[in-house]
C-alpha cells in the first residue's frame, strides 16, 4: 500500500513536469519571436537571441508601420472583422431561432437544404468561376458575403437555444400580448448572449486569421489583409535569406555587406507580432467565451 502511494506521488510529479514542459513549448516560441521583433536586426544575425531582446529597438516595427500599405491592410482587416461579425451574428442568430420553432412548416427541409453543402459542394474552381462572373474578384465583399451563413454556427446557436430556453417562455409572452419581434429581441436574444459571444469570437478570429481568401480571389494591392501581407513577407524572405546566404558564401566581401543590411528575419518576427497581438491581448480576458461553445457542441452530439 505504502509503495503504491509513493509510486502514485512520483507519477503525479512526472505529470506536473510534463504539463510545465507543455506550457513552455506553447509559450517560448512566441517569446522568442517577440524578442527578435524587439531586437536590432543586424544583431539578430549573429544568433544567440533567446527570450528577451539583446539590443532593444523599435526599428523593426517602425519600418513596418512606415509602409502606408501596411496601415491600410490593418484597417481593412479590422473593417472586415467588424462587418463579418455583426452581419454574421445577425444572419446566423435569426436563422437559428427560426429553426428552433418546430411548428414552422418546412423547417426540416430548410435544415436539410442548409446542411447538404457541408458534405458536398462545388469546390474551389467552380466557386472561383462564379465569383468571376458576378465580379466578386478584387471586391471587398468577397471577404464578407461568402462566410456569413456558416451552418455549423447556426447548429451551435440552435442547440443552445433549444436546450437552455424553454419554449413556454415564448408562449407565456404571447399570452401577455408580446409579438414575435418583442419575443426575439427582449427574451430570446438576451438569453442567448453566452452562445452568441462564443460564435462572435469564432467568426472574428476566423476572419482576422484568414489569408487564403486573399490569395485566391484578390490580386489588387489595396485590398490585401494584414495576414496576407505577412504571407508575402515570409515567402519572399525565405527566398531572400537563401540568396543572401549563397551570396555570402560565393562572394564573401559584397555578400557579407548585403547580408548586414537585409534583415527580413526581424521584419517577419515584427510582422508576426503585429498580426497576432490583437488576439494575444484579447484572449486571456475572453477565454471562457472562446471555450464555452465547443463544449455546447459536445453536449449536443
Amino acid at each position: 500500500m505504502n509503495k503504491n502511494n509513493v509510486l502514485s506521488k512520483f507519477w503525479g510529479w512526472i505529470n506536473v513536469a510534463f504539463m510545465v514542459a507543455m506550457i513552455l513549448v506553447m509559450l517560448l516560441p512566441y517569446l522568442h519571436v517577440l524578442a527578435k521583433a524587439l531586437n536590432d536586426g543586424t544583431d539578430t544575425m549573429f544568433g544567440g537571441i533567446t527570450f528577451y531582446p539583446r539590443k532593444l529597438t523599435f526599428v523593426n516595427f517602425s519600418v513596418l508601420l512606415n509602409d502606408a500599405s501596411m496601415i491600410r491592410a490593418f484597417f481593412l482587416s479590422v473593417a472586415r472583422v467588424i462587418l463579418c461579425t455583426i452581419l454574421g451574428i445577425i444572419v446566423q442568430f435569426s436563422a437559428a431561432y427560426a429553426l428552433t420553432r418546430k411548428d414552422l412548416p418546412g423547417c426540416k427541409q430548410i435544415l436539410l437544404f442548409l446542411m447538404i453543402p457541408m458534405f458536398f459542394n462545388g469546390g474551389i474552381i467552380p466557386t472561383y468561376l462564379l465569383f468571376v462572373k458576378v465580379q466578386l474578384i478584387n471586391n471587398f465583399w468577397v471577404y464578407v458575403l461568402p462566410g456569413l451563413c456558416t451552418f455549423y454556427n447556426i447548429l451551435i446557436i440552435k442547440s443552445y437555444i433549444s436546450a437552455s430556453i424553454p419554449e413556454s417562455i415564448g408562449e407565456s409572452a404571447v399570452i401577455d400580448g408580446a409579438n414575435e419581434l418583442i419575443i426575439l429581441f427582449r427574451i430570446i436574444f438576451p438569453l442567448s448572449l453566452p452562445v452568441l459571444a462564443t460564435v462572435a469570437l469564432w467568426v472574428a478570429v476566423g476572419n482576422w486569421n484568414d489569408w487564403s481568401t486573399t490569395l485566391m480571389y484578390v490580386t489588387k494591392e489595396h485590398l490585401f489583409t494584414l495576414q496576407y501581407k505577412l504571407m508575402q513577407l515570409i515567402k519572399e524572405s525565405e527566398r531572400i535569406q537563401k540568396l543572401i546566404q549563397e551570396a555570402a558564401i560565393s562572394r564573401d566581401g559584397a555578400g557579407a555587406a548585403l547580408s548586414l543590411k537585409a534583415t527580413p528575419e526581424s521584419l517577419v518576427s515584427a510582422q508576426v507580432i503585429v498580426t497576432t497581438i490583437p488576439i494575444i491581448i484579447v484572449y486571456p480576458f475572453l477565454q471562457k467565451y472562446f471555450i464555452k461553445g465547443i463544449t455546447l457542441g459536445a453536449v449536443k452530439s
Binding site: N15, V91, E180, Q227, L230, I234, I291, T295
Partner: protein, 313 residues
C-alpha cells in the same frame, strides 16, 4: 348581445388566423438571408462541376466543347496528380497516427492534475495556438528555425562550434516532419477540449467502484476513462477518415518555398486552376477529391454502425 358575441368571436378568429400567418412570415423572413446566401454561395457553384467534363475556355464559358470523362481519365495518368494524391494520403496517415491520439493522451494526463488553478492555466495556454493563424505559426517557425535562430543555436551549443547550421525550412527531407510538428503544436490543446468534456461527463461512481475492486490509477484509466471516451474518439475518427483526401492548404502552401518540391491535392488545384488558368483539370481534381471523400465518409460510417453501433447518422 348574441350578435356582438358572435362578431367578437369572428373577429378574434380572424385575428388569430392572420396572426398565425404573420408569425410564420416573420420566421421565414428570419431564414431568408441564410437561404439566399447558401443558395448563392454553396449551390450556384455546383453546376460549375460540369467544367470538369469540358475543354473549358474562358471566353466560351459554359459553351465550351464537351469532352466527357477525358479530363478525369487523363488525371489518373498524370504523375503530378498521382504524386499529390500520394502526398496527401501520406500526410493524413501521419496525422491520424500522431495528431489524432495526442489530444486524447493530453486530456487523460491533464485530468489527473490536482490543482484546479494550474489545470486551468495549462488549458488556457495550450488552447492559445489554435487562435493564431497558420501563417503566423509559419512565421514563428521561420524565426525559430532560422540559421541563427534558437534551434540552430541550441544545436551549436550542444554539438560544439563546428556544427553546421541547417536551414530547416528549405530542406526537402525535413518538410514533412515540419508539417507534422506544426500541426501538432497548433491543434493538440484545442482538440483535447472535446475529450476533457467527455471525461468530465463520466459518472464518478464508476471510479469508486473500480477503486473498491482494487484498481489502481492506471487500471482505472484503462478500464473506465478510455472506454467512456471511446464513442467520442470513434466519431472524430470517422470524421478524420472522411477527410483523408483533404489537406491543410494554409499550412502546406505557406510552408512551401522555392527549395521544396512537395505538392498536395489542394496546392495543385490552386496552382493549376487559379494561378495557371487550367480550369477543367483543376475542377476535375477537386471533383474526384470531393467524391472520394464523400464515399469514404458514407462507408466508414456504415462499418462503424455495423461494428460499434456508433455513427454520425
Amino acid at each position: 348581445m348574441l350578435n356582438s358575441t358572435i362578431i367578437r368571436i369572428i373577429h378574434m378568429k380572424k385575428q388569430k388566423g392572420l396572426g398565425k400567418l404573420k408569425k410564420y412570415v416573420f420566421l421565414y423572413i428570419l431564414l431568408l438571408p441564410s437561404i439566399l446566401l447558401t443558395l448563392f454561395f454553396s449551390y450556384f457553384p455546383m453546376p460549375g462541376l460540369l467544367v470538369s467534363f469540358m475543354d473549358y475556355d474562358v471566353f466560351k464559358g459554359f459553351n465550351s466543347p464537351w469532352i466527357g470523362l477525358d479530363n478525369i481519365k487523363e488525371l489518373f495518368t498524370m504523375p503530378m496528380f498521382l504524386k499529390a494524391t500520394f502526398n496527401t494520403l501520406y500526410i493524413s496517415a501521419l496525422n491520424l497516427a500522431i495528431a489524432f491520439p495526442a489530444p486524447i493522451l493530453f486530456a487523460i494526463l491533464l485530468n489527473e492534475i490536482r490543482g484546479d488553478l494550474f489545470k486551468r492555466f495549462v488549458q488556457t495556454v495550450s488552447y492559445l495556438p489554435h487562435f493564431l493563424s497558420w501563417i503566423a505559426v509559419i512565421g514563428m517557425a521561420h524565426s525559430i528555425y532560422s540559421t541563427y535562430g534558437i534551434v540552430n543555436d541550441l544545436r551549436v551549443s550542444i554539438g560544439g562550434e563546428g556544427t553546421e547550421r541547417i536551414m530547416f525550412l528549405a530542406d526537402q527531407a525535413l518538410f514533412v516532419p515540419n508539417l507534422i510538428i506544426l500541426n501538432l503544436w497548433k491543434t493538440v490543446g484545442w482538440n483535447s477540449v472535446i475529450y476533457l468534456a467527455a471525461i468530465a461527463g463520466i459518472d464518478s461512481a464508476l471510479y469508486e467502484a473500480a477503486s473498491i475492486d482494487g484498481a489502481g490509477k492506471l487500471k482505472q484509466c484503462l478500464c473506465v476513462t478510455i472506454p467512456c471516451i471511446m464513442p467520442t474518439a470513434v466519431i472524430l475518427f470517422i470524421l478524420n477518415i472522411g477527410n483523408i483526401f483533404k489537406d491543410n492548404f494554409d499550412l502546406i502552401y505557406g510552408l512551401q518555398n522555392p527549395f521544396i518540391d512537395f505538392e498536395t491535392i489542394s496546392t495543385i488545384v490552386y496552382k493549376q486552376g487559379i494561378a495557371a488558368g487550367n480550369y477543367s483539370m483543376a475542377t476535375a481534381i477537386g471533383f474526384v477529391q470531393g467524391l472520394i471523400g464523400f464515399i469514404l465518409v458514407v462507408l466508414v460510417n456504415y462499418f462503424s454502425k455495423k461494428v460499434n453501433d456508433i455513427a454520425l447518422w
